[in-house]
């Protein structure tokens, strides 16, 4: 059975919803999943189930048209909106040297690609080592960037240029310290050359100011995403290309 966890939950009799797809992918290693489908409120539910890892919205406009799975999503205004997903619980959830981060993103309009502004989709930052993983719209126009620094091994970036997409994009990044490989995925397919330079690290303390959806710093929010974001998730394992390709389909 492809999605045993979803079947046990019994949420859908018949076709599985997109959320069930995420919840059923490497379920034992899924440590955070924020569908961001709330209609109101400031709480961003962690659908993985650990309430201590819920996020907190600031300023977003909820209830927007989502990726086409029947769920809504928030609009981030490019000025001061974000979802703070940092928590002590997430930091000690077994984050190690094998990780996958994925989410859906859409710009508010074609002008976002040429506004010369770095805009974060998601960022996880560790407080002791300052190690991080992020997926961004680069400050260079029409460029997407998947970035990380792990074990103070130096910044690693995988780039995709000439991006003009105004529809939904599925974004994912995997880091595998054992293979020293950072792989970026765009709409379910690997993109760019794999990055390297990963060094094992044991920091489990997330920086509570710099682990966010749409921004990189709660204390002085900047580089805010201008558009919609949905279904952000993190696994403590490296998802296979086939698994990511499946998640890139609604």
């Amino acid at each position: 059975m492809p999605y045993p966890v979803a079947a046990v939950r019994g949420k859908n009799f018949g076709a599985l919803g997109y959320s069930d797809k995420i919840l059923g992918t490497e379920a034992a290693n899924l440590i955070g999943y924020w569908p961001m489908n709330e209609a109101s409120g400031t709480n961003s539910d962690n659908a993985e189930g650990t309430a201590a890892r819920d996020g907190t919205y600031t300023g977003v406009t909820l209830g927007q048209t989502g990726i086409g799975d029947g769920n809504t999503c928030p609009l981030f205004d490019g000025a001061n909106d974000f979802n703070n997903i940092a928590s002590a619980s997430l930091g000690t959830a077994g984050i190690s040297d094998n990780l996958t981060v994925a989410l859906w993103a859409k710009v508010s309009g074609s002008g976002v690609w040429t506004d010369s502004t770095l805009r974060y989709m998601i960022r996880f930052t560790y407080s002791t080592t300052s190690d991080y993983i992020s997926i961004i719209r680069s400050a260079t126009n029409n460029r997407l960037q998947w970035s990380c620094e792990w074990g103070n091994g130096g910044a690693i970036a995988v780039l995709k240029n000439s991006v003009t997409e105004t529809g939904w994009m599925h974004m994912a990044i995997t880091i595998n310290v054992g293979s020293d490989a950072v792989i970026a995925y765009y709409n379910g397919s690997p993109t760019g050359s794999p990055g390297s330079g990963l060094i094992t690290q044991s920091d489990t303390t997330l920086d509570t100011l710099r682990t966010l959806i749409s921004s990189d710093d709660v204390s002085s929010p900047a580089n805010i995403w201008d558009g919609w974001l949905a279904h952000a998730a993190i696994w403590t394992t490296v998802l296979t290309p086939a698994e990511i390709a499946t998640l890139a389909v609604v």
Binding site: V60, S116, S220
Partner: protein, 154 residues
């Protein structure tokens, strides 16, 4: 000339009109204490019990801590020339009549400068007081784009 800063929208419920918009203030000559008092007061206005995050007052501070951009669902009356003048007067412990103001039109919206023995505060209504959220949003993004380094944008 009105410059759109004291204009009023169509009234509801006895004249209390709320709209979601961006406003900015810039300290031109306040003390640290005066600025902190003003910002603390401004942080309280808006529909802060709303179930919608975008209705609650939320802000962004310039890196030098001398300017703040607020966004939320506000009463139009919260951001008039006189409402800010009254707040400043209270902070200075003086009569509002002793605080002057001048309004200019800028590419981002009307800007009011308050002065009393020198310039003290600048207030901008991004897009103008009658702006839709989209109009106000466009202006604040243009402002941030033109002032990237000051606001921590890369």
């Amino acid at each position: 000339m009105d410059n759109g800063f004291n204009s009023s929208r169509d009234s509801y419920f006895g004249g209390c009109v709320m709209s979601i918009q961006y406003y900015g203030i810039e300290d031109l000559g306040l003390t640290n204490g005066q600025r902190q008092t003003l910002v603390a007061e401004l942080e309280q206005i808006g529909d802060n019990q709303s179930i919608y995050p975008n209705h609650r007052n939320h802000w962004r501070v310039r890196l030098d801590n001398k300017a703040v951009i607020f966004e939320g669902k506000f009463n139009d009356s919260d951001w008039t020339v006189d409402s800010l003048k009254n707040k400043l007067a209270s902070i200075f412990s003086v009569s509002p009549a002793t605080i002057g103001s001048s309004t200019q039109s800028t590419q981002y919206g009307p800007v009011v400068t308050y002065f009393r023995s020198g310039d003290k505060l600048k207030l901008v209504a991004f897009g103008g007081l009658l702006a839709s959220w989209t109009e106000s949003h466009d202006k604040v993004l243009a402002y941030l784009s033109n002032n990237k380094s000051a606001w921590g944008e890369e």
